[in-house]
Amino acid sequence: MSAHLPSGRAVRTDRTALALRGLRKMFGDVAAVAGVDLDVQEGEFITLLGPSGSGKTTTLRMIAGFTEQSAGSIEIDGVDVSTVPPHKRDVGMVFQNYALFPHMTSAENIEFPLQMRKVPKAEAKQKVADALKLVKLDSYGPRYPRQMSGGQQQRIALARAVVFQPRLLLMDEPLGALDKKLREALQLEIMHISRQLGATVIYVTHDQEEALVMSDRIAIFHDGKIEQLGSGEDLYERPISLFVADFIGESNILHGKFAGGSVVAELGTWRVGDAAAARASLGADSPAALVVRPERLRLIPRTGDVPAGVNTVDATVTDVLYLGSTRKYELRLANGQGVGVRQQLGGPETTWNPADEVRLAWDVDAGVLVAGRGA
């Protein structure tokens, strides 16, 4: 099959480049990675996303061979590399702190993996020049790392990691030490370069925006496990758990019990769309949470009819924030819970003021049902 992944990246084959099977890592009694299964297709860009301590970096280090797994296996191109030392795994890695060799110039740094592979001198020189060109630092070959900015160093590190055409490219929060503007520019550059090379990328970050921008698929890590794996859209629109709903994007979460196709709480009873209910497949009377994104909520007057197919809850406006392209309302429900609403500007709109008593409304299909706390 010739699949097209969501970002439009053409996958040349449907070969599995990397397969993790029941991967575990124990540090004493603590499971840093508690059973990870993952298949990555050749040419795919996968991001491991999660809070610190969720096991994403440990997983990456096990793939690179820096950390030995306690159980499970790692297959690269169908071969189990679990016992292969790091220098024979043939995977490139980009570190957060660049890890450029300070006593070598950029060109010498990039040439290093080629020397290790005994590439003939002339061919190596050509490859180094090509790699420098790839990261748009053609004339920076003779510079030492300390003579370059953080962004330039990271591009050299990227060139060094891809120059030997590794089977996998691993990136451990490569943009973590850079400022926001540079980070955004490099995100695009890394995407373009990896696409140009058709590289299979495993990217670790705790920055969800970065993950959404760059990835074909995202694996959300939580407590040493992959909580959910899917495209950015999957994760945002159809989170499968409270953790994912809370972690990805802003969300308003209404807690209650699931009963008869609705979430029942003190503040009201809200219908759940059939598709959402089927995905969650919760038992009757089990704790449930209804997730509604800020841009899916509307403010309407308390008086007047409620349209069909819409859920509502009463709220009081506390703050109105003007953010340029959007206006953000902060509101409080009768039980004291805060709720955020984002209104796109530019269309017809009613402006509300603090202390206004309003009604929050959302389409039944805009709510996502997940298991609630204690489920």
Partner: protein, 265 residues
């Protein structure tokens, strides 16, 4: 309140500094002019100026062979100790084995065990192997004394080195030996070099163990000085001491310069 406290501090510092100069540095400086005396006895202040005693030093085979022996021993010690010390520091910093703390303590023990104890022990031990009074025996003895300096110096360099660099090298295809040769060693070289210089110095002015280890055939410079001072006290000793001091100062300065070079990021 704080002002007067600061002034007190300042004057205490001055007093302390004067004491250091007079009692610590003074005696070693005072010996220098004494070697240039035109008089016949080792005394301060010197009488007149002459190079007689330097001439006597250079013409007496006891001094010259002592100088050559000392230099040979110190250079060999520096080389052997820096190789062993670097390997030891790497093992302690990177290795994982039981009893590491104890091994580390044992390696550093020559720094705290009384030298006289080491001297007596080595003497009785080396005699059995017919190593006392030989270059090899002296180098072994001095190496044991100076390895701790190399270990401390190299360990400091290793601690300031980014471990990710070694992982990056492995990731790029370098086996452990090539990682060491191409990445680790060049980056800890200032520490190795400084350690080698300290090892040289340790051997260069070592007296106690050397006294036990030497025979009439093989004596190092400090031992010759020790024996000379016990027999006749003439200003030649001051001339020799000046040479010893000059060498030490030069090497120490070199070590400090190396230490101050750009540390590894």
């Amino acid at each position: 309140m704080t002002d007067s406290f600061r002034r007190w501090n300042r004057s205490l510092l001055v007093v302390f500094g004067v004491f250091v100069i007079v009692f610590l540095i003074g005696p070693s400086i005072v010996i220098v002019p004494m070697g240039f005396t035109a008089g016949q006895s080792l005394s301060f202040p010197p009488v007149g100026f002459s190079l007689n005693w330097y001439g006597k030093m250079l013409s007496d085979p006891a001094w010259t062979s002592g100088f050559i022996n000392s230099f040979q021993v110190a250079v060999c010690t520096a080389v052997v100790a820096s190789v062993l010390g670097t390997m030891t520091a790497l093992g302690i910093a990177r290795g994982r084995f039981p009893g590491k703390t104890i091994a580390n303590a044992l390696i550093l023990s020559p720094l705290v065990v009384p030298v006289i104890v080491i001297g007596i022990g080595m003497f009785s031990f080396f005699v059995r192997f017919k190593l006392s009074g030989t270059l090899v025996g002296m180098v072994i003895a001095h190496t044991a004394l100076s390895v701790p300096y190399v270990v401390v110096s190299v360990s400091t360099s290793l601690r300031s080195m980014d471990r990710n660099l070694e992982m990056a090298a492995a990731n790029l295809g370098a086996n452990p030996w090539r990682t060491f040769r191409r990445i680790t060693l060049p980056l800890i070289m200032p520490g190795v070099f400084a350690g080698a210089l300290f090892a040289f110095l340790e051997s260069w002015d070592e007296v106690v163990v050397s006294i036990f280890m030497t025979t009439t055939k093989f004596r190092t410079l400090p031992v010759v000085m020790w024996e000379q001072v016990r027999q006749v006290v003439d200003p030649t000793v001051a001339a020799v001491a000046t040479v010893l001091l000059a060498t030490t100062t030069t090497v120490l300065t070199l070590a400090l310069v190396v230490r101050r070079q750009t540390p590894v990021r």
